[in-house]
């Protein structure tokens, strides 16, 4: 049986992990390699690194970071942030990334999804979608929810699947940061609508939220950042609780 995946998400700036991280036994909370290794030891199934560097040096720094992570990590990881071309993706693949995640670049140039899938295979291409409810409709947003697009979330995700996305990372901006739980209604309708895996993101605050998203929706994975970084939800504990609810997990 396929396990439901638990995915910590790490923000990276200039090759360093940002946001406060509160692991007792961590020597350097800004070191992506050490942090990634710790998460793997705790039982994370996969990691996502989101590059938020805004300088021209970003690509070079990121490649170096990806290589260092790949040397040490024995679980899969995805790189997102600023990927706009085949060349960007290829450099990350060769540095050891298992998947790449594209967001605004795909909205601006939907052909990019098909191009990436053709060259690297669908398993390499995660399409990240930020969604927000506007006047009763789920609309795709960019720039962390600040910029609305003309795309309806359901339509865009369907289009992404047809173009060759191998997985959808769906973040509900209405739930993100609230710690009030995932957007289970939307996540369920999306995961029923498409035939590729869906990663739920936005709103995780406590263990019950993970139980809820896995028992009431068809999502394949759940992603969170702060609840893991601050040690509010230790991953081994979370997985034991999920198991109690008969949710298949890797222990």
């Amino acid at each position: 049986m396929l396990s439901k995946r638990i995915i910590p998400c790490l923000d990276v700036k200039d090759g360093r992990t940002v946001k406060g991280v509160n692991f007792v036994d961590l020597k350097d909370a800004g070191d992506p390699v050490e942090l990634a290794w710790q998460y793997a030891q705790q039982g994370a199934d996969e990691l996502v690194f989101l590059d938020i560097t805004a300088t021209n040096e970003r690509r070079k720094t990121m490649i170096e970071m990806v290589k260092s992570v790949a040397r040490q990590l024995n679980i899969p990881f995805t790189i997102g942030g600023g990927i706009t071309s085949i060349a960007d993706a290829e450099a990350l693949l060769n540095a050891g990334a298992d998947k790449i995640s594209i967001n605004s670049a795909a909205v601006k140039n939907p052909q990019l999804i098909a191009d990436l899938a053709k060259v690297f295979g669908v398993q390499f291409v995660v399409v990240a979608v930020d969604t927000k409810l506007v006047e009763g409709r789920n609309m795709v947003h960019l720039n962390g929810g600040r910029l609305i697009t003309a795309l309806e979330t359901e339509h865009w995700i369907k289009q992404a699947e047809e173009s060759g996305a191998g997985e959808i990372l769906l973040t509900s901006m209405d739930h993100d940061g609230t710690k009030q739980g995932f957007d289970c209604q939307l996540l369920d309708s999306i995961s029923k609508m498409i035939n590729i895996p869906v990663i739920a993101s936005g709103g995780a605050g406590k263990i019950e939220h993970f139980t809820e998203v896995f028992t009431t929706t068809g999502v394949d994975a759940a992603l969170a950042a702060s609840v893991f970084h601050f040690g509010e939800i230790p991953i081994p504990h979370l997985k034991k609780e999920l198991k109690k609810h008969n949710i298949p997990v890797r222990l």
Binding site: N74, G121, Q123, N195, P197
Partner: protein
């Protein structure tokens, strides 16, 4: 020393990193003569099986691989290349193990690709020495190798029962990625390096 067949099918950085972590030395196989330097051979591979076979054909190494008596391990698409034929690109493959590589059927109510950690049923085999039955490994694939009791050394269940690992004589194949499957995957690579 492990030789990796270098035919340009995807990234092998994760694989060589895993071998390095295990203290296993390795090198690249580019020509027929290179096979002599190595005791164990790995055929990696990601992406499209038909395209991978085309690249492998271009290296001119296929006949040498077929003749090998040393332990050979095909990983993911590298495993599929050991079979006779793949529905992916309707491709004729190396035909070392007479099996068919097929596309998962979404009518079985499964999502494709099969992506993530899946438990496997292990048969007694040196490749899985020290790996507990039902251990989970990391899979990423849309095509699978049909179940066959003769060549099966581990099975997985995803919509249907299929081959997670196969063996015929000195040829081994695993559908999952040992280099991405945590401690169990590293154990498997170590076991492979000790096969005679």
């Amino acid at each position: 020393m492990i030789g990796i067949v270098n035919y340009g099918a995807g990234n092998i950085f994760s694989l060589t990193s895993a071998l390095s972590r295990l203290g296993l030395s390795y090198g690249m196989i580019n020509t027929e003569q290179d096979f002599e330097q190595y005791t164990h051979i790995i055929i990696p591979g990601v992406g499209h099986a038909g395209a991978a076979m085309e690249k492998l054909n271009q290296t001119g190494l296929v006949e040498s691989i077929r003749q090998l008596k040393k332990p050979v391990l095909g990983i993911c698409v590298g495993m599929q290349l050991l079979t006779s034929h793949s529905q992916e690109g309707d491709a004729e493959l190396m035909n070392i193990i007479p099996l068919e590589t097929k596309l998962f059927d979404k009518e079985l109510g499964i999502k494709i690709p099969h992506m993530g950690w899946n438990n496997i049923e292990i048969k007694n085999n040196l490749l899985f020495e020290g790996v507990e039955n039902q251990t989970q490994f990391y899979f990423v694939h849309s095509y699978f190798i049909e179940y066959n009791a003769i060549f099966e050394i581990a099975t997985a269940n995803y919509g249907l029962q299929y081959a997670a690992a196969i063996q015929k004589d000195n040829f081994y194949g695993v559908q999952f990625h040992p280099e991405k499957s945590g401690a169990a995957g590293e154990q498997l690579l170590l076991n492979f390096s000790k096969l005679n």
